[in-house]
């Protein structure tokens, strides 16, 4: 059996693995970059490149050691360093003398080289793709349900256990019918978790660079830490939504970015690159929707995300919403992150109490 290594984008890797089966081969992947892979990447990559490149590179080196022959990497058309990832990873792997072959996948024609190389039949090709899209939708639902349930669960860890069980089932699901029946089960399984319905959790939005929003190893499992602090999350990268957005661009020429740039226009009149515009626009949106705070994640020195930080600070002051800026490098430890998040959660809780107190006082004064 031929194997292909695929980049890690959190739980969505499960769906991508199904998509790879459309080429008649098997996927070699994990839902989070392993610390060993990260170490390999850090050793091999130039010192000052951003962390996602090191994670990807390490993952592919690990794959090569495991005997995987092929890998694919998404071709970016953006303005930031991501655009050069494939070329650079290719070059470094060649210099290391590794044999793994990397295909680019992206906006390069109707029949990209990866399809031409494996040349699967049309039926074997299309069916797994539809299955993968279905799986992506299921994972979207799982993620959203987990954000909602985790802060109010009575026994800590219940949500994570249910979610992991469903994810395992999903990755083992071979047919569309199985996945569909699993999808029906999702809402029920989360509803069975005993929760404290009285509790009103804090609401926090997560914005920033996508691999940090998704990869549990890179972001030190921030979703779990926040959830167990009693914070309800909204992570602004859902692959299903992103796919919908892409389809809308192709068929209807309506990009979500257009509406986002209209929202952010007062603060930012350029779509910088990466997800910088999304970060600014979503922060404004969340402030208007009454979120308690925002967390902005990016790798240390990320070109687009760091350059909009002064703007985020202004948004935070104008809209009175706290924005925690987190940047990660290879020396970031999980405990440090947890401490910062706990402190942030305390601040938000105190703010809410004070705000509520002031509101109550105002109400009492008016009689």
């Amino acid at each position: 059996m031929t194997y292909m290594a695929i980049p890690n984008i959190g739980n969505y890797t499960i769906a991508l693995a199904t998509a790879v089966e459309s080429l008649g081969i098997k996927a070699w992947a994990s839902t989070a970059t392993t610390p060993e892979a990260l170490k390999l990447g850090i050793e091999a990559a130039p010192e000052s490149v951003c962390l996602p490149l090191k994670a990807h590179l390490g993952h592919f080196i690990e794959a090569d050691r495991a005997g995987v022959e092929y890998a694919f990497m998404i071709n970016s058309v953006g303005t930031c360093r991501l655009r050069y990832y494939r070329h650079m990873i290719d070059q470094i792997l060649k210099d290391l003398g590794l044999k793994i072959k990397i295909f680019g996948l992206g906006f390069d024609g109707f029949k990209p080289p990866i399809v031409r190389h494996f040349d699967p039949g049309p039926v074997t090709f299309i069916k797994p793709l539809f299955h993968a899209v279905l799986k992506i939708k299921v994972i979207d639902e799982l993620e959203v349900a987990a954000w909602r349930t985790r802060p109010i669960e009575i026994t800590p860890g219940n949500t994570t256990r249910v979610m992991n069980k469903l994810l395992v089932e999903l990755s083992e699901s071979k047919t569309m019918a199985q996945t569909r029946s699993l999808r029906k089960k999702v809402a029920g399984s989360f509803a069975d978790i005993p929760v404290d319905k009285e509790k009103q959790p804090l609401k926090v939005g997560l914005v920033g660079e996508i691999s940090f929003l998704r990869d549990k190893c890179l972001n030190k499992n921030i979703e779990y830490i926040l959830g167990s602090q009693g914070i309800e999350l909204k992570n602004f990268f859902l692959l299903g939504e992103e796919l919908e957005n892409i389809t809308r661009i192709i068929f209807l020429n309506q990009s979500r970015r257009k509406s986002l740039s209209r929202i952010a226009n007062r603060y930012l009149q350029n779509s910088v690159g990466g997800h910088a515009l999304d970060s600014v626009a979503n922060s404004i949106l969340c402030a208007d929707e009454g979120y308690d705070g925002m967390i902005h994640l990016c790798p240390s020195g990320c070109m687009p995300e760091v350059s909009v930080r002064p703007i985020l600070k202004r948004v935070s002051k104008d809209k009175d919403i706290p924005i925690l800026e987190m940047s990660y490098d290879e020396h970031t430890g999980g405990v440090g992150i947890a401490t910062r998040l706990e402190a942030f959660a305390d601040v938000l809780m105190e703010r809410r109490k004070n705000g509520a107190a002031a509101f109550r006082k105002e109400k009492a004064r008016r009689g």
């Binding site: 010192e47 303005t79 009149q269 350029n270 002064p310 703007i311 600070k313």
Partner: protein, 318 residues
């Protein structure tokens, strides 16, 4: 006497073909000495003074600028961006209006560093909040520089003919400034180096100054890479500066230069991706290559040691 003066002024402003923009006559416009000042050398001062404004360029960066930058700027910016913030802060309060263009592309079919995208917005949000910020989008992939300048002139409500003459003299000034190569006199037996890097890095006083001085003291001749050439051939690199350097390095020969020094700054995204490519190219051509990274804590002695070691090691080459 005073009334007479006012009367004359009234006539002058009512006269249709005279003095296009009396309200901009004494307007002081601040130009930070970073990024676009070095990318388009000599252009902005000429353009604004031709339009009857008074351009005020911030002082060359020194250690004081860096100290100021570390206090006011975003901690994770690259060094030039920090210095830019300090230059901007120096101008705020001294001038009526500051000029921060949005430089998206400086060559056809190329891109600039993505950090230039939100530059005017970041200035408006943070440091230049109390001052008016004049901005123009420069995207030479979509429209030539002269058209962008025309739009800028229209924003300032100048007359068309005046803008046109200002553009032509500004472009001429830029050409002559670009063609002026910085060279040191060659001494007998002196080595010859090419210094590569972003224009705003290799021309900056704080970043490149100490290294150039040291090389000069050691009797070496240094040539700064020229950005006067036309658009280079397309390659996988889309950043204009990086692609220009890449193509210049492809044409180098060991007879021409004894070594190539790349000057880079801490947290520069473009350079972090390109260093290996440059190094590989130079290795293939058998030209010695060194890269020096400058950060906020630049110590003259440390740089001196590295430069001395590099120059000495060249002497031992067979």
């Amino acid at each position: 006497m005073d009334t007479d003066h006012n009367f004359l002024k009234c006539i002058a402003s009512a006269w249709p073909w005279k003095s296009a923009s009396p309200d901009h006559r004494s307007l002081r416009i601040g130009i930070p000495r970073m990024f676009f000042y070095y990318i388009y050398p000599g252009l902005w001062e000429t353009f604004f003074s031709e339009l009857g404004m008074e351009p005020v360029v911030s002082m060359p960066s020194t250690i004081r600028t860096v100290e100021k930058a570390s206090q006011i700027s975003e901690t994770e910016h690259c060094l030039p961006n920090k210095l830019f913030d300090a230059h901007l802060a120096e101008l705020v309060g001294k001038v009526d209006i500051v000029f921060v263009p949005r430089v998206l592309s400086t060559l056809k079919n190329h891109l600039s560093c993505p950090k230039f995208g939100p530059l005017p917005d970041a200035a408006r949000a943070d440091i230049a909040r109390e001052t008016k910020v004049l901005s123009i989008e420069i995207d030479e992939s979509r429209r030539p520089l002269s058209e962008s300048l025309m739009l800028l002139g229209k924003q300032l409500k100048s007359q068309k003919s005046q803008i046109r003459s200002a553009i032509s003299s500004a472009l001429r000034a830029m050409e002559s400034a670009k063609n002026q190569r910085v060279r040191f006199r060659r001494k007998k037996g002196g080595l010859r180096f090419l210094l590569i890097g972003h224009p705003y890095v290799i021309h900056d006083n704080f970043i490149a100054g100490p290294i150039l001085q040291k090389l000069k003291k050691m009797g070496c001749e240094v040539e700064l890479i020229s950005f006067a050439e036309d658009a280079p051939a397309k390659s996988y690199i889309l950043w204009s500066t990086a692609n220009l350097i890449y193509h210049t390095m492809k044409t180098l020969s060991p007879e021409e230069y004894d070594g190539v020094i790349q000057l880079t700054v801490f947290n520069c995204g473009c350079d972090s991706m390109m260093i290996d490519t440059y190094r590989g190219l130079m290795k293939g051509k058998n030209i010695p290559f060194m890269y020096l990274m400058v950060d906020e804590h630049l110590a003259q002695s440390g740089m001196d040691t590295r430069v001395e070691a590099f120059v000495d090691s060249l002497g031992w080459r067979p």
